[in-house]
């Protein structure tokens, strides 16, 4: 009786694995795919090397005037000379440390939120949302503890961009959640107020809102009342974005099955408790992409404040470009602006993706 000897494992054909296999399945799987691959390769080879040459190889990095730019590539000297203004706006140079301190403080406060075992996350989060803005405001505006007062009109640059964006996010998110709940309420008055609010703010362009807040509003206020321009811009942006946020959150609420509400009710949870513990955690998780989308749009929309005479980072770059000493370097200036905005927006996007992964618990249906 002969015994069975199994065949030895053969290695797979060379055309299925390794570099050739990968190329074959991913880049040249069909004629249209092959044509696209070749076309894309052409575009990359045509644009990338000149770009790298301009931005890095032939670029000038050090110096203190345009005379340093002789290599024919990008003149980053323009950015480095003006860097402080791009970051701090017209804030007095001797007081930069106050902004830096506020920046370091927020980083130090946020880090514990990412520590898995940290137990006071809720209290710390509340402090960041309520206490920190007050601390930062006092630090920026001064006038107490011997700090030199700095008017809000001198706040500017990336600092202003970040202030507007974070205030906008922190205010529009809770407001949006309340509006979304209001719009789904069975109480007719709450519902109609929410609908009118949302539809009004969604129906007007942000630029109009800012313009109204800065030019029209003072006309209606009693003579002599001073209402800070920056504060008005913040309120305008927050109300405007909260309408968008409300609709994003409402989308999430609609995706929650009725059974979740019923189970919460059947356990005796009150409306607010079932919202806070059962419905919102699920609904908000579903709409993380939409929320981050709105935040990213908000971040970039802050540049519009330049029409009411606030100098955010983009406005500072524009102003620097108008300087006769630096005429003709707009490509460098705008590339730098684009890069900074991209870094912030891309970080938000990556953070949202990691958050989605972390909160994924498998789905029950």
């Amino acid at each position: 009786m002969s015994t069975h000897t199994p065949h030895p494992d053969l290695s797979p054909p060379i055309t299925n694995v390794g570099v050739i296999g990968w190329l074959r399945t991913n880049l040249f799987s069909s004629w249209p795919n092959a044509i696209l691959t070749v076309a894309a390769a052409f575009v990359i080879f045509a644009t990338l090397p000149p770009l790298i040459e301009w931005a890095f190889i032939k670029a000038d990095w050090v110096g203190d005037s345009r005379d340093a730019c002789t290599s024919g590539g990008a003149c980053w000297v323009f950015v480095s000379v003006r860097f402080n203004q791009f970051m701090y706006g017209l804030y007095p140079e001797a007081e930069y440390w106050r902004i830096n301190l506020a920046g370091m403080l927020i980083v130090a406060l946020v880090i514990p939120l990412f520590v898995e075992r940290f137990r006071w996350k809720l209290s710390l989060g509340l402090f960041i949302l309520v206490g920190y803005p007050i601390v930062a405001f006092l630090l920026f505006s001064g006038g107490i503890l011997g700090l030199e007062p700095v008017e809000t009109s001198r706040w500017g640059g990336l600092t202003l961009t970040l202030i507007l964006a974070s205030v906008g996010m922190a205010a529009s998110f809770p407001l949006g959640v309340l509006l979304a709940l209001g719009r789904r309420s069975t109480m007719p008055i709450v519902k109609s107020v929410s609908v009118v609010f949302i539809e009004f703010w969604r129906g007007v362009p942000l630029i109009t809102v800012l313009f109204m807040s800065s030019v029209m509003l003072p006309l209606f206020l009693p003579e002599g009342t001073h209402f800070d321009k920056l504060l008005r811009a913040m309120i305008g942006i927050s109300l405007f974005q909260s309408a968008y946020m409300a609709e994003v959150v409402r989308g999430g609420l609609q995706a929650i099955p009725k059974g979740q509400y019923e189970a919460a009710q059947a356990l005796g949870l009150s409306f607010w408790k079932s919202m806070a513990l059962i419905i919102m955690p699920q609904a908000l998780k579903l709409v993380i992409p939409g929320i981050v989308n709105t935040f990213i749009a908000l971040f970039k929309d802050t540049t519009l404040v330049l029409i009411i005479g606030l100098f955010d980072m983009l406005a500072m770059i524009e102003a620097a470009l108008a300087d006769p000493n630096w005429l003709g370097y707009s490509v460098e200036g705008l590339t730098f602006a684009a890069f900074v905005y991209w870094v912030f927006c891309f970080s938000m996007s990556r953070y949202s993706m990691s958050l989605e992964r972390k909160l994924h618990t498998g789905h029950s249906r």
Binding site: P257, A263, A266, L267, G268, T361, S364
Partner: protein, 255 residues
């Protein structure tokens, strides 16, 4: 009644009373003049064709649905628009749903502890210990740290039962607890329910599991078209149905 019902778990005190209860969905009259009294410790099985109003009836008992005429009295408290009464009753009444309705973003243990902590104001440790006890009762303590999405349907339904029990209810309502389950998982859920019945819990159960009705029910109620057509002890109900509609239904369901 106590002569005809020798079960020692059943006392004379009525836990649930329905008096001339009517309900409409718009123009549609779903519940028509329901009268029913459930005593403490009694186990009622409700059956009937789909759309007969049986789920609606038990959902009225913890006011997931509102009735528009008549009275519903649960453990001495009448269900009215008064939110306090509703909250009071929901604390006393546990409910198990056809589709489990576990909270997918919370672990099994968190599902069980949530209401005791937030509604009964129980300290977290105590709530967790109690929850583990109930999870052991339904025989899945080892799944406590998992999320509902990682469990089978039968396991999820047992967690749902444990979740309700954690509120220490005096009445349990079951709305077709096994009809969304694969056949091989029905038994494990029914076993849990039988055990619960043996512990003396007052239960109202909408189900088509006639075996379950025969073993644990004190009374079987047959509903059709929003009305209670027939009401009897299981033996009589199955062997000697009175109305033609009951006979038709039983012939269809028992094959």
């Amino acid at each position: 009644m106590s002569d005809s019902n020798p079960d020692p778990a059943v006392s004379e005190k009525p836990m649930i009373e329905l008096r001339q209860v009517h309900k409409w969905y718009g123009q549609f009259h779903v519940l028509k003049d329901l009268n029913l009294s459930v005593k403490k410790g009694e186990r009622i099985v409700i059956c009937g064709p789909s759309g007969s109003g049986k789920s609606t009836m038990i959902r009225c008992i913890n006011r997931l649905e509102e009735h528009q005429r008549g009275q519903i009295i649960v453990d001495g408290t009448e269900l009215t628009d008064d939110v306090k009464n509703v909250d009071q009753i929901r604390r006393e009444v546990g409910m198990v749903f056809q589709h489990f309705n576990l909270f997918p973003h919370l672990t099994v243990l968190e599902n069980c502890c949530l209401a005791p902590i937030w509604v009964r104001k129980m300290p977290r440790r105590e709530a967790e210990a109690a929850a583990m006890q109930y999870l052991e009762k339904v025989k899945i303590p080892e799944q406590a740290k998992k999320y509902p999405g990682q469990l089978s349907g039968g396991q999820q339904q047992r967690v749902a039962i444990a979740r309700s029990l954690c509120m220490n209810p005096s009445i349990m309502l079951f709305d077709e607890p096994t009809s969304a389950l694969d056949p091989e998982m029905i038994k494990e859920v029914l076993d849990t329910m039988v055990e619960l019945a043996e512990s003396g819990m007052t239960m109202m159960c909408v189900t088509h599991e006639m075996g379950f009705a025969k073993t644990v029910a004190n009374r079987v109620i047959f509903m059709d078209g929003g009305e209670i057509i027939e009401e009897n002890e299981p033996e009589e109900f199955f062997n000697n149905p009175q109305s033609d509609r009951t006979k038709l239904f039983l012939s269809q369901i028992l094959g």
